[in-house]
Amino acid sequence: MTGPGAGEDTTGRADGTRTSGPPSPGAIDDAPLHMPNPHPAEPPNRTPGPTARTVESPEPDDTTTTGTGTWPRTGTGTGTGTDASPPVDDLVERRLHPVTPLRRAWAPVAVIVGWAVHDPDQAQRQLTRLTTTHLMIGLAVLIPAAALYGFLTWWFTHYAVTDTELRIRTGLLFRRTAHIRLERIQAIDVTQPLLARVAGVAKLKLDVIGTGKKDELAFLGADEASALRAELLARAAGFAPETAHEVGEAPARQLLRVPPGVLAVSLLLTGATWGTLLAAAVVPTLLWLATHNLWTVLATALPLVGAAGARSAGRFVGEYDWTVAESPDGLRIDHGLLDRAHETVPPGRVQTVRLVEPLLWRRRRWVRVELDVAGSSNSVLLPVAPRDVAEAVVARVLPGVVVPTGPELSRPPRRAARCRPLWWRGHGLAVTDAVFAARYGLLRRSLALVPHAKVQSVRLTQGPWRRALRLADVHVDTGANKTVTARLRDAEEAAELLRSQAERSRTGRRDAPPDRWMT
């Protein structure tokens, strides 16, 4: 699966979890998430070093060795004792990167251009009436006004990191202060749109339930964004406040990198692409037979082909160079050809994982893995991967989970065929000691896994038709506002499942790691 450039040992690790060979799965499982000290040689009580920001260290190899000497994180208990520096109370408020005011500079230009394109005659007439003096006056007023507005919004936007919160203070006339609690973070995204990459800046977004577009920090310098992400994660993980800004990035180990060739083939093999292409072939032919007008044919065919191409190309560009890595701070996902995105999902934040298997991928045993994190809009974990590798990655994301395979999933009883002919065979359910797994779909199969600890409520529903057939559906609601449903179960089994699943959901929470994952 890994491309030519990807680290060799990572595939070995990903496979190792499956094959239970000499590098036993247990040893691998223990390694990253729960060991407080990954580098035993390092003294646990180190003095605060002078060069803390490892992100700025000139290490060329980015993904695997970001963290250097300062990494071995000591918990709150051990770290504080040696620190002579008193707890810092003064809040350092910081501003965004100075290019920030320019990020909306294109908007008025776009409006004018859009208007000119939309109504060329009118634009032409207005343009001829425009004298040089008018133009000069207009520019002399508009440019300083826009510049002043941009400057003021930038000037009045501050952010600060306290021991427990990220505070964002913004607004020129209407002040707005957001305090985002760090132990509640569900994910941190650092994204770099194309132009931002050119300018060397990045956006940082903290996903907490209820945050919106306003709560992202756009833009920060690229290095500053990574440093801030490392600091926020360190504080959220429960490090001593004094050391939090100098523990640096956690070392990441690459699990998987999707080669561009595989991604391209997988996109060609999706039903949507072929459906659109088929429509592009059939509809113009019919139109040609009906009208014999070349222009109508072209006018329908081109957008259809364009849509198929644009969607596939868009997904290819967005999912290019998809890299999944693992670190003590959780999962890292990096992707994008033009716009780069770096997502970090701390341990224990994943609410649901879905393995989607389109029909045309089945022969190659490829799957797409999606995940749900509360409050986050990102949903893809792996755009395409062989099933074994995907299962190994899922086992890392949800520790101790073995993905149930076909025979382990129990089908609905045969009488369910009268409720949903043919498609009833696609439904399946398995409950292991760690997850509730439900599958649906006949052609495009989708298997959803919910860890018991993430279940918020369990519901049983039964309409009149199902009741006549003694069937019922069991819904499991998760915190990411996703509901996983086991459909068409036998009524008695469903009632039992309802009770036992509520019980498991309650007890499953006991073994869950704490919110501050390094404590």
Partner: protein, 188 residues
């Protein structure tokens, strides 16, 4: 397949063991947890209110359907009034069945709500997952001395509402749920 019988699988057994260890300090007697829930129905106030509303609105409709066509068209058109009347009779029965189907049970660790006649739905919410408990009472409900309790978890799909409770009972339930939720609180 473990789905049908979680009690005798190893997983649930282990969970039970840890549970028993954890529950030892709790004051509960060592009864098996799989007891039958003690269901509580709704007080009749809700049924009275709904039936009254039904009678008022459909009564007005019956009147309109009986009088207006008879005035403007032909007296025979007054037979149209039978339609809302039949609807009223049907609704009267349906409201009764629906009201009887609502019931809830407070168990040691979770709340059960069951409802629906044709479309049955049963919800289980562990107390630890409750994010907030809400007691609401609209103007009409207040007039009839009713209040509803609504439970919110982090999942918006959780639809756990108990309508038509006596206000005192609603407040007792709210306080008890809040208390239990605090004691068993768990994150996302």
């Amino acid at each position: 397949m473990e789905t049908g019988s979680p009690d005798d699988t190893g997983t649930a057994g282990a969970a039970r063991a840890t549970r028993a260890a954890g529950a030892a300090d709790r004051a509960e007697p060592a009864v098996p947890v799989r007891d039958e829930p003690v269901w509580t129905g709704l007080p009749p106030g809700l049924l009275h209110m709904r039936r009254l509303l039904l009678v008022v609105w459909l009564g007005l409709l019956t009147l309109a359907a009986g009088v207006l066509p008879a005035l403007f068209l032909d007296p025979a058109w007054a037979a149209l009034a039978l339609l809302p009347l039949a609807l009223m009779a049907w609704g009267w029965v349906m409201l009764g069945r629906n009201w009887r189907s609502w019931r809830y049970a407070e168990r040691a660790d979770d709340l059960l709500i069951s409802r629906g006649v044709l479309w049955r739905e049963e919800t289980v919410v562990p107390y630890g997952r409750m994010q907030l408990v809400e007691v609401t009472s609209g103007p009409v409900e207040r007039h009839f001395g009713l209040a509803s309790v609504q439970l919110h978890t982090a999942a918006a799909a959780t639809d756990a509402t108990i309508p038509g409770l006596d206000p005192a009972e609603a407040e007792r339930l709210r306080d008890r749920l809040t208390e239990l939720g605090e004691a068993r609180s768990a994150g996302l």
